[in-house]
């Protein structure tokens, strides 16, 4: 459903963009052209389609090792979370409850955040293999994947998070000046 709504929004967008900005040539000619390498290094955000996922792979078993070495200090031995430990479970309740991390509609979201922000003492320091492995371990703890599953650029985007269909994108189709849908708030 989200996809079709997105497509609709895209179509409307393209139309309005071409109307409001017929000639998008540079007007002020400020700025410099970045090198392809600079863009490649910086362009790390991984969206649900998984296009930007790097080569590499990881298993649940490998993830358990990464977790013990680099994650356990903050997240606790089982990832369950305590007053001091930020929980990793549950990512995939049938009914979402407002617990940190319980509301993840795409597995790529987990990969992306582990990749950019973990471990908190040295964010961004994990290798792609370590990120795949840690993600596999977290998803396994949440009963999303099997112990034998291997995560890589192909398998990760195909994981279906248990809650995905429970997310309603309220304002995807919003346009400037438009009143919010009735009953949208609060």
């Amino acid at each position: 459903m989200r996809c079709s709504r997105l497509l609709t929004a895209t179509a409307a967008l393209v139309l309005s963009a071409s109307v409001t900005a017929p000639a998008q040539g540079p007007t002020y000619r400020l700025g410099t052209t970045p090198s392809a390498e600079e863009i490649r290094v910086r362009d790390t955000a991984v969206s649900p389609g998984g296009k930007a996922l790097p080569p590499g792979s990881g298993t649940v078993k490998q993830g358990a090792l990464v977790y013990a070495q680099k994650c356990q200090t903050c997240h606790g031995p089982n990832g369950t979370g305590t007053r001091l430990h930020r929980g990793l479970i549950p990512l995939g309740n049938a009914k979402p409850v407002k617990i940190e991390g319980s509301l993840v509609p795409y597995a790529t979201t987990v990969w992306d955040f582990v990749n950019r922000a973990m471990p908190s003492t040295k964010p961004g320091s994990l290798t792609p293999d370590e990120v795949y492995a840690a993600t596999a371990f977290v998803l396994f703890l949440n009963d999303v994947i099997e112990e034998s599953d291997i995560l890589d650029a192909t398998t990760l985007p195909n994981i279906r998070m248990p809650n995905r269909d429970n997310f309603l994108a309220v304002e995807i189709d919003w346009k400037p000046g438009q009143r919010r849908p009735l009953g949208h708030y609060p």
């Binding site: 967008l13 700025g31 969206s47 649900p48 922000a117 964010p123 919003w174 000046g177 919010r180």
Partner: protein, 411 residues
């Protein structure tokens, strides 16, 4: 781009580099560990300080999460007019440390589905045509009922909203400079904090009024507020307003980044979660007198407060002194800015009897701020639902007791 422009730019860059090296030299002479600002802030006349009798300060809820460095609220009850002083702007950071950025080294990279990827220095961003606009920023978790000790303080319950005059260049200007390709529908904005905080914004909003802001209330944006440059996304939940902005990628689908994917979705009793709730609802709060205040005796008081809405401009605010049985229209401070705090004022003669003061905002879209009961009815929930939900914009009643004490009367 022709060679003519290249040579112009080279010349400018050469001049810029000379200036930059001068600036670097000046900083280094002070000492590598001592930024210029330290030396300046030690001197109360170099940067003026409030009276020592004035204790208008941000306050903490004391419950920051492990990934939240700061959770500080604006003292709405102590402020007048519509502008929040920069040093009192609320802070709610989902990051891992506040970055300490030298603007001379900062770059904004724009790429993705564009004809011309570009990198801008701060000097270049400041050369673009600029705009100054008064906008509020409000955390979508603001106004959860009864938050804080006793739930009685307008600061702790409602103080995650602030309003500034922001100056910068419209994101649409930068996007047009890059040439957005057909098929693009979103931008991904990324900060330069350690976590590279990421948010997705629909291209329609990016091309409409989203601001790349380098100044706040006339001076450079402060470090905690996104120095040297940040997004301001007018009327939308402030989690979209990426601070320390370093990258804009033009794409055809949202990133579903950690802080937008589900963490900020509101869950309903039926198990559904509401995501991508951009515009904030119409809201108004009486800031004075409010919870924790005590009226010294019967007589004249001015009731005053703030109203704002993600729907654009506040059209009217009505005030009730009898718990919502009757309302009268309040006076709005002019001019009313769209997507900005709007100050309202209402003359009141207290007769010494119990009273319940509350305000109700109506915006230019005709949307009316609901009571908590009305809001609960919309979602089919009990009022307790809003203790954990975000985006609550219900009417806030303050009960004035006969002894002049005032308390939160929401529930």
């Amino acid at each position: 781009m022709g060679s003519h422009h290249h040579s112009d730019r080279r010349q400018f860059l050469a001049e810029g580099a000379a200036l930059a090296s001068l600036a670097v030299g000046a900083v280094q002479s002070v000492g590598a560990q001592t930024p210029q600002s330290d030396a300046r802030l030690k001197d109360n006349l170099a940067y003026g300080q409030p009276s020592r009798f004035d204790n208008t300060v941000r306050r903490s809820l004391g419950s920051a999460t492990p990934i939240t460095d700061t959770a500080l609220t604006t003292p709405l009850q102590d402020l007048d007019g519509i502008i929040t002083p920069s040093g009192l702007h609320f802070l709610m950071d989902h990051v891992n440390g506040i970055p300490d950025i030298d603007p001379a080294q900062h770059r904004l990279l724009m790429h993705g589905m564009v004809d011309r990827p570009l990198t801008f220095t701060m000097d270049e961003l400041r050369r673009f045509p600029s705009v100054s606009r008064v906008y509020f920023l409000e955390c979508n978790a603001n106004s959860r009922p009864l938050r804080g000790p006793n739930g009685d303080s307008v600061q702790l319950v409602h103080g995650r909203t602030s309003c500034s005059e922001w100056t910068g260049v419209l994101l649409s200007v930068l996007l047009k400079e890059c040439g957005v390709q057909s098929g693009a529908s979103w931008v991904i904005a990324e900060g330069s904090d350690a976590n590279k905080y990421t948010m997705s914004i629909p291209l329609v909003k990016a091309m409409d009024d989203t601001l790349v802001a380098y100044a706040q209330n006339g001076e450079p944006v402060r470090p905690h507020n996104g120095h040297p440059v940040r997004l301001v996304v007018p009327g939308w939940e402030a989690i979209r307003a990426v601070k320390w902005l370093s990258r804009i990628a033009v794409v055809d689908q949202p990133a579903m980044a950690w802080h937008e994917a589900g963490n900020n979705a509101d869950t309903r009793p039926d198990g559904k979660a509401l995501g991508f709730r951009f515009a904030l609802g119409p809201k108004s709060i009486i800031t004075r007198p409010s919870g924790g205040h005590r009226l010294p005796g019967r007589g004249f008081y001015e009731i005053t407060g703030l109203a704002w809405t993600g729907g654009g401009a506040v059209r009217r605010v009505d005030v009730s002194v009898d718990g919502g049985r009757t309302y009268k229209e309040a006076q709005l401070q002019q001019p009313v800015h769209r997507y900005a705090h709007t100050r309202f004022r209402f003359a009141w003669e207290w007769n010494g009897e119990q009273a319940v003061l509350q305000s109700r905002c109506t915006d230019e879209q005709g949307e009316v701020q609901p009571t908590i009961a009305e809001a609960a009815k919309v979602l089919g929930v009990t009022p307790e639902y809003f203790f954990q939900a975000d985006h609550f914009n219900g009417i806030q009643p303050w009960k004035v007791n006969q002894d002049g004490s005032i308390q939160n009367a929401l529930l």
